[in-house]
């Protein structure tokens, strides 16, 4: 079992090989073989994930850090001790992610065999899916932020490729698909900007990008005595009460301590630091953050103590002394507080953590489709439905939440960010839930539902309920994948029904039919209705998914949503924190919206009567599609049992004992999540949430029930009603979110770009500055120099010399007669002159 951990790199390798084979030989292998390869690779990842789970449970849940055999370090610079490795981490958090990602992923691979049947790029589709799994698993298993970022961007790339998978469809549809793909990528890139900045700050704060260093993994949890199931059995209401009591009477320092103890939260485990004698530099980023925060808080305590003395001071002298004491304490604290030089700024650890987490939040809003960057996810439904189910519902979009849960050590200490995270998550949950009510496209409703549910998870992170966020992520993966695959089955059925109609009814309807064909949208719920009879398996599984999403007992969504609500109730009412109230209130509303729009969808799609010929001729999908639906349906019902809250678990334990215990998932995650809330079952919240869900369903049934789902004009009853028409229109128009972005961001961006390119760069720099100023200026100066100066003075001087020489030689040329005798005479004369000159001295002598 020990060696199972060594399999971790293989979980990345299998889909990578699958993708490789399908990319290069897929077309030659044929549909059947490439499907087998793709699905096998995906199945193997699940097998490995499962063996890693076995490894963990057999080794006291001790995390393992595995270096892949061939790829050692990635970026390493010896001289500055800079080292980023390709290193995978097996701990309870990553294995939780792996389990549901690979399981849902494999089911979706199987589903896609049926769904994508006959597509000309079938093998490429499987290659992309495998590539996606590769990157998703890199994201999950990476042991440092940069490796996580590789996966992070990689899944974004796959999402881009898969959203735009049908980029070549005719009539502008392909163009719209590729637009949606581009939009997704760019929105994600804006988020990536945040992640990158967070990574830079983490590096300059902690000097490392590793989550945890190997030294930390070596610590045996059991021997340190950190973990014990009984802790949580005994803690709970009782401890929580103590926490509240502690808050009231005691000093500030102890109050903070008391808070940590509240509702079953585990105190900061510093087992590896101090006890094991580990140096700060041997800790990963999270460990360091914990230690540094302890130092920071102890520095603050010094000041607080001094201030307490000041408050107690009676006489003037005491006061003055105490004030001096406060000043001294401030100075001491300033030294004690861990400070960091980031460029010219000097910031303390608290500020750093707030900055880091704020940037991370931006990243999470991109990947996990939160306000303000959620606009890409509804458009991403342009991709094939299996993609929507896998990437845009179950796995990739949860990466943002995963990152925040992984960094819980940062978020826990950054209260400002946590507050903001709560606001973002809760607002997104409500806004997206509201918009979903006004949509007619079956997948678009689900897309907004996904955004809304992700809002739940983000809000859960914000209130510090990290296990609850993970729990909701797991359950959501199952039932949302189920819903998407169900909708895919419906769309498939509608298309086939329409096809059927086309083949049979061509003679009868003639031209009228052709006209109709162009308008037909198989995803439009207005064309559906009454599919319950045609597609029974799809209907029942879809119903399971709906009830799970709506949070109806005993479906999975009930447990996970209840956990988040219970947690926010505790944070709000027990700890008196504003974010708890906000989360509780807004998530309750969002939960109501959820149940409402899901039931509206059930009524529109499956109940009532068929509103279109295609819906009449629709039929059930092939087994490769329905079997995954049934499996997911089963899990939508049961997956919630992995994390049943405390008192209830004893009720279930007699028939589920061994399989599930109380808070199994949360206890499992505790080995990798430092900061914890495990709320106990809150009957008030549970009953309120359940009645909210059921009430919304009945309300939806009363509006849309029977044949009322769509009235004769093809309108939603809410749309037709004058009292709700305007509000509904706002939801239908998606609150004009995209339009606002176009108006305030994208259009100005394009306009500025054109202005810079055409006016500034081309007309000014290129044409004006270069051609006019430089070139013409040069020519002007050149002309100035050439005409008066060059011709007048320089040329004049040169030509003048030439003229003089010409005149002189003109005179001298006459000497040259050309007659030999002239030259001979000259010669003779010369000789005579020479002789005379030679003889002259003699004569003189």
């Amino acid at each position: 079992m020990e060696s199972f951990a060594q399999l971790a790199p293989a979980i990345i390798l299998f889909p990578a090989i699958g993708a490789f084979i399908n990319f290069f030989w897929g077309a030659r292998l044929g549909e059947r073989n490439s499907a087998i390869i793709g699905t096998f690779a995906s199945g193997m990842t699940f097998v490995i994930a499962f063996s890693l789970l076995l490894y963990l449970s057999n080794n006291g849940f001790r995390p393992a850090v595995i270096n892949p055999p061939i790829f050692g370090s990635w970026i390493s610079i010896d001289s500055i001790n800079f080292d980023i490795s390709w290193q995978t981490r097996v701990d309870t958090l990553s294995v939780t992610m792996m389990m549901f990602v690979t399981f849902v992923g494999t089911l979706i691979h199987i589903y896609a065999i049926g769904y994508m049947h006959g597509d000309p790029l079938f093998s490429r589709f499987f290659a992309y899916l495998n590539l996606f799994l590769t990157f998703m698993l890199i994201l999950i298993t990476g042991n440092n932020f940069l490796m996580m970022f590789v996966g992070w961007e990689g899944v974004g790339l796959c999402s881009y490729l898969l959203i735009g998978f049908w980029w070549d469809k005719p009539d502008g549809v392909g163009w719209n698909n590729s637009n949606a793909a581009r939009k997704a990528f760019i929105a994600n890139r804006i988020g990536d900007f945040g992640v990158l900045m967070a990574i830079f700050l983490i590096f300059w704060t902690f000097g490392t990008l590793d989550f945890y260093k190997p030294a930390e993994t070596a610590v045996d949890y059991a021997s340190v005595g950190h973990h014990g199931d009984e802790d949580h059995a005994t803690e709970g209401e009782g401890t929580h009460e103590e926490g509240v009591a502690a808050e009231e009477g005691e000093t500030a320092g102890e109050e903070a301590h008391g808070e940590e103890e509240s509702h079953g939260e585990v105190a900061v485990p510093l087992y590896y630091y101090g006890t094991a004698g580990v140096e700060l530099s041997q800790l990963g980023a999270f460990g360091q953050a914990e230690v540094l925060m302890v130092e920071y808080k102890s520095a603050n305590e010094v000041v607080e103590a001094a201030e307490a003395v000041l408050a107690d001071a009676q006489t003037e002298d005491d006061r003055a002394a105490a004030e001096l004491g406060v000043d001294e304490a401030e100075a001491v604290a300033q030294d004690l507080r861990p400070n960091f030089d980031i460029g010219p700024f000097n910031l303390n650890i608290q500020t750093m953590l707030v900055l880091i987490t704020l940037f991370m939040l931006l990243g999470a809003t991109g990947k996990s489709a939160q306000i303000p960057l959620f606009v890409w996810l509804p458009d991403a439904m342009a991709g094939p439905t299996p993609v929507s189910a896998l990437i845009h519902a179950a796995t990739m979009v949860t990466a943002g939440v995963y990152m925040m849960v992984r960094s819980n050590a940062f978020f826990y200490h950054a209260e400002l960010t946590s507050f903001l995270v709560t606001i973002v998550g809760a607002t997104t949950a409500v806004v997206a839930g509201f918009i979903a009510i006004g949509q007619f496209d079956i997948k678009r409703v689900l897309a907004y539902s996904t955004v809304s549910q992700l809002g739940f998870m983000v809000a859960a992170v914000g209130i510090g309920a990290y296990p609850a966020a993970m729990f909701h992520m797991v359950t959501h993966a199952f039932f949302k994948a189920l819903l998407f695959l169900g909708s895919g089955s419906v769309i498939h059925g509608m298309e086939h029904g329409h096809h059927h109609l086309h083949e049979h009814g061509h003679d009868d309807h003639g031209d009228h039919h052709d006209e109709h064909e162009e308008e037909f949208d198989p995803q439009d719920m207005r064309n559906m209705g009454g599919l319950r009879k045609k597609m029974p398996i799809t209907y029942w599984t879809y119903l399971f998914g709906t009830l799970a999403l709506a949070g109806i007992w005993p479906f999975a969504g009930f447990w996970s949503k209840d956990e988040i609500l219970a947690d926010s109730w505790l944070v709000g009412f027990a700890d008196g924190e504003l974010r708890g109230y906000i989360a509780l209130g807004m998530l309750f509303i969002a939960a109501g919206f959820t149940a409402f729009y899901m039931w509206r969808q059930i009524e529109m799609v499956f109940h009532g009567e068929a509103r279109h010929e295609a819906a009449k001729h629709a039929h059930e999908s092939p087994p490769s599609m329905t079997i995954p639906l049934m499996i997911l349906g089963f899990f939508s019902l049961t997956i919630g049992f992995i994390n049943i809250p405390t008192p209830l678990s004893s009720i279930f334990s007699f028939f589920l004992s061994g399989l599930v215990g109380e808070h199994s998932l949360a206890n499992f995650l505790e080995y990798s999540i430092t900061h914890f809330h495990i709320p106990d079952f809150q009957p008030v919240i549970a009953i309120a949430a359940l009645s909210m869900g059921l009430g919304a369903i009945f309300f939806a049934r009363s509006i849309y029930g029977g044949t009322k789902a769509i009235n004769k004009d093809g309108k939603d009853p809410l749309q037709a009603s004058p009292s709700t028409g305007q509000v509904w229109a706002l939801a239908n128009k998606r609150m004009y979110w995209d339009e606002i972005y176009w108006a305030i961001l994208i259009n100005p961006f394009i306009r500025i770009g054109k202005f810079l390119a055409n006016v500034i760069d081309w007309e000014f720099f290129h044409d004006y500055f270069h051609d006019k100023v430089l070139h013409r200026g040069f020519v002007t100066v050149g002309n100035l120099l050439s005409k008066p100066f060059d011709i007048g003075i320089i040329d004049g001087a040169v030509n003048g010399v030439g003229w003089v020489v010409g005149r002189i030689s003109g005179g001298m040329r006459r000497v040259q007669t050309g007659y030999v005798r002239t030259y001979a005479l000259a010669l003779l004369l010369g000789v005579v002159i020479v002789i005379v000159l030679m003889l002259l001295p003699m004569i003189q002598n």
Binding site: F23, F71, S73, W74, I75, S76, I77, D78, S79, I80, N81, F82, F149, V150, W152, E153, G154, L157, Y160, G164, W167, D168, P170, D171, G172, G174, W175, S178, N179, R182, F185, I186, R189, D192, F193, L196, M197, I199, F200, L201, F203, W204, G207, D341, I342, G343, P344, F345, I750, I752, G753, K754, L756, A757, N758, I760, D761, F765, H766, H770
Partner: protein
């Protein structure tokens, strides 16, 4: 510097191999040996590449100073010598040059402009001359000879653009020549002054003198001697890079140049500017560098955003890629002036990366142009469907240029931005704005990819384009290999320059201790 000898070194061999090829080409008959000429040129560029790989093999990565050096006096009375050798920084650029060159030559084999305009022999002669001159710039350690090589690179490039370029080739060629020339005049003056003060023109010696305080260029304000000298060098390099307001020659030269010319221009010639900054400005004028760093890095950041934004609004693919160079080289400038090991090494890696990615993009544009004879994006659409293999390769190159993690550019950009965040010469806002450039790269490159490769294949003339020829594939595959290699295992390249860049920072730290505080 201990290893300096006057016996023939591998560096000299590598440097003069293209010259040997060139000489052989001159004796070949253009009419009779049409096929042989290009293979001879290609063969010698490959031989040069192999020689540079040998240099890499012989290079000791633990040694910071010059290696494989050779030196003999040329004009001893003036302190000028033939002095060649490589350290880690220049070796990487030598490898980049010798790697890009065979690809550029091979990619010319199927270019129809050569058939149209003829004079193939001259073309390949210029190619080899260019390779010789570029290698000279990277290996020569004497400032005067550096200047000579620097100027020689202009000549073949001028003719490559001017003879085999597009419609406005002569305008572009002249503009290219004059801009670069104008900058290098100032550099010549600075070189003469520095050489006169130092009594030698050998850069390693001068750098050592500056570090030891033996040679002091006064630096008190921006009009001091050192500052002026720094600017004299910088302007020449800045025009070549080009740094933001001096980039006006670039789109013309790139758009008008033949494909191979653009590849070399983007791949290697621009790196001469950034290399020059690292080689001369930093070690010779450390105080001035620190003083000017925020301004120059600021221009770099403006270049990143401006280049990306302008690139976004282009309709001509080649122009888009050209402006993207302005953006990408802004990163390199930012990295250099972060003045810490992360930034400097990131910048050097990014020089190589940019050569590969942007070189790849230009090859891609060239191959499209060969098929459709237009560079306007609106003429394309759905090309991926017509050319599936080419589309896939183009996507990888585009993603590489965009800085997708796991591909080459990411490593460089990441290290640069990491350096910029931690730089105490600059500050986090530089990095903040530069990181916005990462978003914008996605915007303009994806838009280009979408317009050219995606969408419906609706234009009749695009439907029957021929798929890649094996020669074209042979050009693209080495690029792909490098993209993945440098993306997944860049350590080999970091190792090469680690000691040298460490040495450079330490040398600068002698004069400006401030920058040493950034090193953990």
């Amino acid at each position: 510097m201990e290893a300096v000898s006057s016996s023939l070194s591998l560096t000299t061999v590598t440097l003069f191999l293209p010259m040997v090829g060139l000489t052989i080409l001159l004796f070949m008959n253009e009419e009779k040996n049409r096929a042989a000429i290009k293979w001879v040129a290609f063969g010698f560029s490959i031989a040069t590449f192999l020689a540079s790989v040998l240099m890499w093999a012989a290079f000791d990565t633990g040694e910071a100073g010059l290696q494989l050096a050779q030196r003999f006096d040329w004009l001893p009375s003036y302190g000028i010598s033939y002095f060649v050798g490589v350290d880690g920084l220049s070796l990487l650029l030598v490898l980049l040059t010798t790697f890009i060159m065979p690809l550029a030559i091979l990619s010319s084999f199927r270019v129809h402009v050569l058939e149209e305009r003829g004079r193939e022999k001259l073309y390949y002669v210029f190619m080899l001359l260019l390779e010789w001159a570029m290698l000279g710039v990277f290996v020569v350690q004497d400032m005067i000879i550096f200047y000579i090589f620097w100027e020689i690179t202009l000549v073949p490039m001028y003719f490559l653009i001017g003879i085999w370029g597009a419609e406005n080739r002569v305008y572009a060629a002249v503009k290219f020549f004059l801009y670069t020339m104008a900058g290098s005049i100032l550099m010549l003056l600075a070189i003469l002054y520095v050489g006169g003060q130092a009594g030698t023109f050998a850069v390693p010696e001068i750098a050592a003198m500056v570090a030891s305080g033996e040679l002091v260029f006064p630096m008190s304000d921006i009009f001091s001697t050192q500052s002026v000298l720094f600017l004299g060098f910088l302007v020449a390099f800045a025009i070549k890079v080009p740094i933001f307001p001096l980039h006006s020659w670039l789109p013309d030269a790139h758009v008008q140049a033949p494909t191979a010319g653009s590849v070399i221009l983007a791949g290697v010639l621009l790196k001469m500017g950034t290399y020059g900054i690292v080689r001369f400005c930093l070690p010779l004028f450390p105080e001035a560098t620190v003083e000017w760093a925020p301004i120059i890095a600021g221009l770099g950041v403006i270049g990143i955003i401006y280049g990306a934004w302008v690139s976004f609004a282009q309709t001509d693919i080649k122009k888009l890629v050209a402006y993207s160079s302005v953006s990408h080289l802004g990163f390199v400038i930012l990295g250099i002036f972060s003045l810490n090991p992360q930034g400097l090494q990131g910048a050097t890696i990014q020089m190589v990366n940019h050569g590969i990615s942007t070189g790849g993009l230009f090859l891609m544009v060239g191959m499209l142009y060969e098929r459709r004879h237009t560079k306007s994006m609106s003429a394309y659409g759905g090309i991926w469907k017509a050319l599936p293999l080419f589309g896939g390769i183009s996507l990888i190159i585009t993603l590489s240029s965009m800085g997708l993690p796991g591909l080459n550019s990411f490593v460089g950009e990441f290290m640069i931005l990491l350096g910029a965040v931690g730089s105490n010469v600059l500050g986090i806002f530089f990095a903040l704005f530069a990181t916005l450039g990462v978003i914008m790269a996605a915007i303009y490159l994806l838009q280009m990819f979408q317009k050219v490769y995606m969408g419906e294949l609706d234009k009749e003339e695009n439907k029957n384009l021929p798929e890649l020829h094996w020669q074209e594939l042979a050009v693209l595959i080495p690029i792909l290999i490098m993209i993945f290699w440098m993306g997944l295992q860049p350590n080999v390249f970091f190792d090469v320059m680690d000691a040298s860049s460490q040495h450079l920072i330490a040398q600068m730290g002698e004069s400006v201790p401030q920058i040493l505080t950034m090193i953990p």
